[in-house]
């Protein structure tokens, strides 16, 4: 005890001596305090010296020291913290502190980060900064915090494969450089995601679905309960291209749902004609049916598997590979006779088939069966309880979000709104086990395996390829708060929707033929076939009249072509008159050049230009014996088809008249264009046989 006390006293004495040594008199005290102050002051620069970015800037200087362009690079290098500050966009990005060579294109050979130059993009760093596109925490000065913090900052760096989503924050149009974003947006509409989810553009317009799910109010007229059962169990087993998701229903649920759907179905009014066609097709007619299917260009819109199992055809209408197993014969016949009687909103035109054609086509389609599809479906008559349970299921699964069903109202806000899904705070998301803690992974998992988030989740499982899932996630990540608040002058609007409707009897006829399913006029319509907004300036009346009656082939290389609608003379004349009168371009007067009377010298000059200077024969055929190009339309009778004024102005600037055309603008002079017009207007007769016309 005494010993310990002695030790403490000894310590005290030593401390007192130290104190006297340091602060004994005023000179000593001043000296010591100065020293302590100096050490304290040195801590700050020392701490700074060991910062990550200082180390990296030093590494950069060593990296460029021995390069050929070292002097330039060193001159341009700016030491210290760098910052891009854009108050208008709320951008404070210090990324350029470490990413020092982003603007140095000559550093392209360096693959070491953070010293790579930025790849070529249409915007400059000083316009948008970094975080606007890449996410992450711009104001941070350590790598970890800037790149991957999810706690203090909501969004870590965006993985490269979803980068296109950032373009979508401002771009509502479909830029050519963002195929993935464009595809994702298309899928959101074509897979009907937006039937359940609300998705508003920054301008406040709601994205519209383009999948056209059928009304189910008369479903019993169209198909059987067995087919509905098998379809509900696995839509892709019926048609690989079906967009209807697989709801993973149990047998009992599918049984009850099919029972309810048949039960709610009402007969059509007027009732469909159950009469078979007047002359039932014979055995020889199978080939004739296939020919008619081909001649009517059903494949322009409908796909079907060929003998090799390859799906060919368009995707505007449903796949027809197993159509015979689905539809009832009398329904099919009524549909082919006039689809608008059964579904006023269908994109399918009203072909004017005669009874013989109807019989041929119907029996051809009915032969496209797959007995396996409903082979194992054996259903008992439905009980009341089953039907009631089916109704409950329809409400639970939200069937009425897409389909019209008798007695069931379309649910409002059935699924979460997606307008700002790209900025959804992670704290508000319940992650399934095994899903990485970031937004892209969550969205991907949610689309790929919706039921891994709990079987009670309403979202069904869609059949999607990896690239489609990536595209969808990209489109969803574009829906950010930042995008919603971006200054209006930076926003690039999408193509405005047009509700153009042609008037009068021609308008009615165009609606009946569903011209807008393929053609676009005044901003409304499909993109499968040429835009007809200026068609009246482009063609000669007599040719158009003949073409509408019998659409011959202009482009032999195309699979999708204009079908023959079997129009009457009066109908064709009505349409022709309307097109010739109304669809004129304001750019020029289509009668300003005569269609004939060009001099032989002009024509010969044009021939030279056609074959030599502009090598038009690479893509067009004027003389079928010699020319082979079939990228553009065949021009053997172009002098009968086109107006001279159109040819002249089209040669001068093709895109001005047809924005989507492939024909390059070759800056053809007025004289050349006139000579070429003269040559082309002389092409009026299709040579009947080889050597016919020279």
């Amino acid at each position: 005890m005494g010993l310990a006390l002695e030790r403490v006293r000894e310590m005290g004495r030593k401390l007192a001596a130290l104190y006297r040594f340091l602060f004994g008199d005023s000179v000593r005290a001043f000296g010591s305090l100065s020293l302590i102050l100096l050490v304290c002051l040195a801590v700050v620069p020392a701490k700074d010296h060991f910062r990550e970015w200082i180390r990296l800037q030093g590494q950069y200087l060593r990296l460029i020291r021995n390069r050929g362009d070292a002097a330039t690079l060193q001159r341009r290098f700016q030491p210290g913290l760098q910052q891009i500050w854009l108050p208008r966009l709320g951008v404070v990005d210090r990324c350029t502190t470490c990413h020092v060579a982003l603007r140095e294109a000559s550093m392209a050979d360096v693959s070491l980060q953070p010293f790579r130059p930025h790849p070529v993009i249409p915007h400059s760093l000083d316009q948008f900064g970094c975080v606007f596109c890449h996410r992450g925490q711009g104001a941070a000065t350590t790598v970890e915090e800037a790149h991957s913090s999810t706690k203090a900052w909501e969004q870590p760096l965006l993985p490269a494969r979803y980068l296109e989503s950032s373009c979508g924050q401002c771009h509502q149009n479909a830029p050519a450089g963002t195929p993935q974003l464009n595809m994702g947006r298309k899928l959101l509409a074509s897979y009907g995601c937006v039937n359940c989810h609300t998705l508003l553009s920054p301008a406040g317009t709601r994205m519209k679905a383009t999948d056209d799910p059928p009304e189910l109010t008369h479903i019993a007229q169209k198909t059987t309960r067995e087919w509905i059962f098998a379809w509900l169990k696995n839509p892709q087993a019926y048609a690989a291209s079906a967009t209807m998701p697989n709801f993973e229903l149990s047998d009992a649920d599918a049984r009850d749902l099919s029972a309810f759907l048949i039960d709610q179905s009402t007969p059509l009014s007027p009732a469909i004609d159950a009469k078979p066609p007047s002359s039932p097709p014979g055995a020889d007619d199978a080939q004739a049916g296939a020919t008619l299917y081909g001649e009517s260009f059903c494949a322009s819109c409908h796909a079907a598997q060929n003998a090799a199992g390859i799906l060919t055809g368009g995707d505007l209408g449903p796949e027809l590979t197993r159509i015979g197993s689905k539809v009832k014969p009398e329904w099919l016949l009524a549909w082919l006779r006039d689809p608008h009687q059964l579904d006023p909103n269908t994109a399918m035109p009203h072909y004017r088939f005669n009874d013989k054609q109807l019989g041929l086509l119907a029996s051809f389609l009915e032969s496209k069966t797959d007995s396996d599809f409903t082979a194992n479906v054996h259903l008992q008559a439905a009980t009341k309880e089953q039907i009631e349970h089916g109704r409950t299921l329809v409400n639970e699964r939200g069937c009425a979000s897409c389909h019209q069903i008798n007695g069931v109202k379309r649910p409002e806000n059935f699924a979460p709104e997606l307008t700002a899904v790209g900025s959804r705070p992670l704290a508000k998301i319940v992650f399934a086990p095994g899903v990485p803690y970031d937004l892209p992974s969550y969205l991907e998992a949610k689309i790929r395996e919706p039921h891994s988030f709990g079987m009670a989740m309403k979202m069904p499982k869609f059949t999607l390829a990896t690239s489609q899932v990536e595209a969808l996630v990209t489109a969803l990540l574009a829906q950010t708060d930042r995008g919603a608040t971006v200054p209006a002058d930076l926003r690039v609007a999408g193509h405005p929707e047009s509700d153009y409707q042609p008037a009068g009897s021609a308008g009615k006829l165009m609606d009946d033929l569903r011209c807008f399913s393929c053609h676009s006029i005044n901003g409304r319509g499909g993109d499968m076939a040429p835009d007809l907004t200026s068609e009246g300036s482009s063609v000669q009346r007599a040719w158009l009249l003949g073409f509408l009656k019998d659409p011959n082939t202009l482009r032999p290389a195309l699979i999708r072509r204009m079908p023959r609608f079997n129009l009457t003379d009066a109908e064709a004349a009505t349409l022709t008159d309307y097109i010739m009168t109304v669809y004129q371009t304001p750019a020029f007067d289509s009668t300003s050049l005569p269609t004939s009377g060009f001099t032989a010298a002009d024509q010969e000059n044009g021939r030279q230009l056609f074959y030599s200077k502009y090598a038009c024969q690479s893509c067009h055929i004027v003389d079928p014996n010699k020319d082979k190009g079939y990228l553009g339309p065949t021009l053997t009778v172009v002098g009968v088809r086109r107006t001279a004024a159109w040819i002249f102005h089209y040669l001068k600037d093709p895109q001005a008249l047809r924005p989507a055309t492939l024909e390059p603008n070759q800056h053809i002079s007025d004289e050349d264009a006139r000579a070429l017009t003269a040559f082309l207007m002389a092409q009026t007769k299709a040579p009947p046989q080889p050597g016919g016309k020279k």
């Binding site: 070529v120 993985p159 490269a160 494969r161 050519a176 450089g177 690479s618 893509c619 600037d653 093709p654």
Partner: protein, 240 residues
């Protein structure tokens, strides 16, 4: 203003950040002497995306017949991810892996490796192409304006015009020829037409249809997909 983006050829052997975490637990049941690429090489896709086709390699024995149960390991550079990163060959002697590309544009080398009986490594190098923004834009434009003539292959949706031309155009993958043409000449031919550089007049001028940005993008795409790979002159390259 040259496009040097592609030089990020990150080499599996030198810059391998992602080695398999642990040695695979699977033991080989058989050994072969050769690795052969069956498919999936030289695909072009956007940076960071999963390639459409899986990589397929086959292990062969001395007679050239497939070996079942040989262990194949895939190694890749940067953030390239191969799933699975290793495995045994199937009945047909083949193993396939899906490939997710890294985040920078350029060529990515993937090393497939197996061992023979004595434990000597047998390797095979595969290459994939990651397209950045500019190359991707070039690809879109190329598919719209160029491939109808420059790609001899026809598809169900698009019939090739290649056979109809008197002077056959070069495929954009034809590095053997295109690599020898300078950026300036390629840009001139695209902008002013084939006649501008003593080539066929069948190649039209695109100055009125495509912008300079578009033509730069097209060139970047051509350089990206060239095989053998294009290397600009006068540059320092990452050593192999």
């Amino acid at each position: 203003m040259r496009r040097h983006w592609w030089v990020f050829a990150v080499l599996a052997t030198t810059a391998c950040h992602r080695t398999p975490e642990s040695q695979p637990a699977v033991q080989p049941k058989a050994f072969g002497v050769a690795l052969v690429e069956m498919g999936g090489g030289l695909q072009a896709a956007s940076v960071g995306t999963v390639l459409d086709q899986p990589l397929v390699v086959q292990v062969n024995d001395q007679q050239g017949s497939p070996v079942k149960g040989a262990l194949v390991t895939f190694r890749a550079a940067g953030q390239t991810i191969l799933t699975p990163s290793s495995g045994l060959t199937g009945d047909d002697g083949q193993i396939s892996a899906t490939c997710q590309l890294g985040g920078a544009a350029g060529r990515y080398q993937i090393l497939a490796a197996t061992t023979d009986k004595s434990g000597k490594p047998v390797t095979l190098r595969l290459e994939e192409i990651a397209l950045g923004y500019q190359q991707n834009l070039g690809r879109q434009l190329s598919e719209r304006y160029c491939s109808r003539c420059h790609d001899p292959e026809s598809s169900a949706e698009r019939v090739s015009n290649y056979d109809n031309l008197t002077v056959k155009p070069h495929a954009f993958t034809d590095g053997a020829f295109l690599n020898s043409v300078s950026d300036t000449d390629l840009a001139a031919i695209t902008t002013y037409g084939g006649a501008a550089r003593n080539k066929s007049a069948e190649m039209p001028s695109y100055s009125g249809t495509l912008s300079k940005t578009d033509i730069d993008a097209l060139l970047a795409y051509m350089r990206a997909v060239a095989s053998p790979p294009y290397r600009a002159k006068g540059l320092i390259y990452a050593s192999e």
